[in-house]
Assembly symmetry: C2
Homo-oligomer: 179 residues x 2
Amino acid sequence: MAHLTTSVEYALHGLLWLVDSDVALSTREIAEVQGISPSFLAKIFPRLEKAGIVSASEGVRGGYRLARAADQISFLDVVNAVEGDKPLFDCQEVRGRCALFGGNPPPWAISGTCAIHAVMIQAEKAMRDVLATQTLAAVSQRFSRKIPATYMADLREWFGDRHDRRTSRIGRPRREGPS
Amino acid sequence: MAHLTTSVEYALHGLLWLVDSDVALSTREIAEVQGISPSFLAKIFPRLEKAGIVSASEGVRGGYRLARAADQISFLDVVNAVEGDKPLFDCQEVRGRCALFGGNPPPWAISGTCAIHAVMIQAEKAMRDVLATQTLAAVSQRFSRKIPATYMADLREWFGDRHDRRTSRIGRPRREGPS
């Protein structure tokens, strides 16, 4: 399994739909327009909400919005929200297991950070530094540059249609949530 | 599971025993002195041999040696040898699945590298660049600085004892391999 999983991929693609959206979108709408699993996405967005990346509202117009400006949401924020504190390398302190220590390693052998682990921490930091410099806004702009006007019109129609369907459910007691 | 697994950790700790060794060491000896699983290590070293990091010899003095100078073996060499081409992020080309494409995404939507994937490639490169700059020799020196002379003497005795046991197996037809 790759270190940055499908959950991160779905979260990022999902969030990009919110960058320029004037209305709140449900995870069902996002999943449908993006062609990904609605149930999978519905499990990811609560993590993004908990991390303060999106905010949720209920009701017929309910759904998710970005909780702050897209240029204030980095890839690292999203990775941390979705994956938690998953280290690149999980040091097992092998250095202290030398047969000569007989299960009781001396302080000189286990003080400070293991030299191998230190390299891995440095490598992980370099990776995270890149993720910290990239924002949803910047990547959204890169996507937008390629999009033709006709597609934008089709999209507005698609979301308008969904929105109409939602708000015309008069008399139906079922509460519409963010998912 | 961490991206850089226990196999990488064992490979690096195992290889460090070869940096200053005058004799070939079997994976059994390395595993025993390091307090790690011999059978696990025996599966890892053939990958290091295949990648040209170690060379194997057979016979009573058989075992593994570094195949080139320790300052010419980077952490990235070891990670690649052990893990293969495991990407940090496995792009599934989600961008082409938009519902409006009806399963037939237009060229503008899927040309070039996905902007999300591009960020992940950049992050992975930053991680690999750090791993490429760190060598077995440099990390071995960092370990060596902390080691007291008494421990080095104990180690020489431990390996000498193992060596004597190996070479005194006169009349035993079993061939000693690198593992």
